[in-house]
């Protein structure tokens, strides 16, 4: 949760603290932490799967972005009304580093894999994504993803950026293509 390294317990400061606080206790090694975490992950995943099995209709949202270190992440969340408490819930289905190129087909196969993993195929009633052409293409399969919604917040951000030119054009190429587009419009 705090992005602490697995080997935190074995660090000298922590060890000298434990010596005083809990004499005789050394804390788990990094290997143990890692092992426990992966067990916990599988367990939680099973729990979520069991919970989602009770829900008849689920909507999902997906977003793809690039971090400052140029790593791509794809996050898929599920939104549903809990059958027990009748509150709307949002749970993350998958959050992972996306390797390779962002073809619509690649994103789609990943999303389908995740949906199959949770047994959600056929239960999806709506899909919300941003306006990226790749992810639009990935979710256009209405048999699985049903109605596609555009994320309004992304849209508003886009409106402000585009209209006011808050940021300089990134690359000369981009500027060129947009000016070409401008010309097209003028015609």
């Amino acid at each position: 949760m705090d992005a602490r390294p697995f080997g935190d317990y074995q660090h000298p400061g922590m060890q000298s603290f434990l010596k005083v606080a809990v004499p005789g206790y050394y804390g788990p090694s990094s290997r143990t932490v890692e092992r426990n975490l992966s067990k916990l992950y599988v367990k939680k995943q099973q729990e979520l799967k069991a919970e989602l099995a009770k829900v008849p209709d689920i909507s999902i949202a997906a977003d793809l972005w690039r971090s400052a270190r140029n790593r791509c992440f794809l996050c898929i969340t599920s939104h549903y009304i809990s059958p027990t408490t009748h509150q709307s819930c949002g749970k993350i289905l998958s959050f992972r580093h996306f390797h390779g190129c962002h073809f619509g087909s690649r994103i789609r196969s990943h999303m389908l894999r995740v949906l199959k993993q949770f047994d959600l195929v056929g239960k999806i009633t709506a899909t919300t994504t941003d306006n990226g052409s790749d992810i639009k293409n990935a979710t256009r399969l209405s048999r699985v993803f049903d109605v596609r919604f555009h994320c309004l917040a992304h849209g508003l951000d886009l409106v402000v950026h585009k209209a006011l030119g808050l940021w300089p054009k990134k690359q000369a190429k981009e500027a060129e293509s947009s000016s070409a587009h401008q010309l097209d419009q003028d015609e």
Binding site: C101, F103, A153, D157, A163, P168, H181, Q185
Partner: protein, 286 residues
């Protein structure tokens, strides 16, 4: 644009057809589409940068050609103004980075700020973070008097290099700059509020989408404010119409209207046309 319009017209239009969605590609990507269309492979949607949301319109719908001519016709937008805002933001960023990078300048600013009991720091905006530009402006306004004081003191500060001083001087925000920033802040505040409203996790947001779109549209069309605000609004309006106009009979529009109809808080603001469409849609669904 002519080409793409024809392309869309030539294709048979039907809402449920999957192939139809292939046509719902971005306007900007049209040149790519034309080449890759016959093969019909999925890969033509390949985007290669983080801003690819930028490359596609909200929904390039059937009447793309119309909406496009709208865009080019909208109002007497002065293109040099767009330039000014971009440059102005750049100036602001230059001031902030120069101060944040230099320990001496930062300490000086902190000292002045401390006297006027400001306990926050200047922040920079980020390209893909929503509302970050608005947040940066807000902070800049908190520091307005501090920055003015800094410009008075800058010659007496020891250890500030010539380059830093020149950089700060080149990015000096004049009174008219501040006035324009003020107008910008005023307009962006609405967008910031809207984004926060629809970012809720514990309540359904789809009916709010309707309310937000409607009220922002009203806000942007209300040109009774001072000249700067009006010009900014006009600049925004063209893009707003382009990105926010959904195809009239799409399921997405119908569902949003229906949600707005059923939500008590948005029920009363529903426009007559949308209300009819929503009722028709609901009856059909049931």
């Amino acid at each position: 644009m002519l080409l793409s319009a024809q392309l869309w017209e030539d294709e048979p239009e039907s809402d449920d057809d999957n192939d139809d969605d292939e046509q719902l590609e971005s306007i900007d990507n049209v040149s790519v589409n034309i080449n890759g269309d016959d093969s019909g492979n999925d890969d033509n949607s390949h985007g290669n940068d983080e801003d690819e949301e930028d490359e596609s319109t909200f929904v390039p719908d059937d009447n793309t050609s119309e909406s496009d001519s709208d865009t080019s016709d909208t109002g007497p937008v002065n293109p040099t103004y767009a330039l000014n805002i971009g440059e102005l933001m750049k100036k602001g960023r230059t001031v902030i980075t120069t101060i944040r990078k230099s320990g001496i300048l930062h300490d000086a600013v902190r000292n002045i700020a401390y006297d006027s009991s400001i306990n926050v720091d200047l922040i920079l905006d980020m390209r893909i973070r929503w509302n970050s530009s608005y947040n940066m402006l807000n902070r800049l306004f908190v520091f307005q008097s501090v920055l003015e004081e800094l410009y008075v003191q800058i010659d007496s500060l020891s250890g500030v290099t010539k380059r830093q001083r020149e950089k700060l001087m080149s990015a000096y925000l004049s009174n008219s700059d501040w006035a324009l920033l003020q107008s910008l802040q005023f307009v962006l505040e609405r967008f910031s509020d809207a984004t926060e409203l629809i970012s809720g996790k514990s309540y359904p947001t789809i009916s709010i989408v309707y309310a937000v779109k409607l009220s922002l549209h009203h806000f942007l069309n209300d040109l009774t404010d001072d000249i700067n605000v009006s010009i900014i609004k006009q600049m925004l309006l063209a893009e707003f119409d382009r990105y926010m106009t959904l195809p009239v009979n799409s399921k997405e529009t119908d569902i949003i209207s229906a949600a707005a109809l059923l939500d008590p808080s948005t029920h009363d603001i529903l426009q007559l046309d949308d209300k009819k469409a929503a009722e028709k849609f609901l009856i059909l669904e049931v």
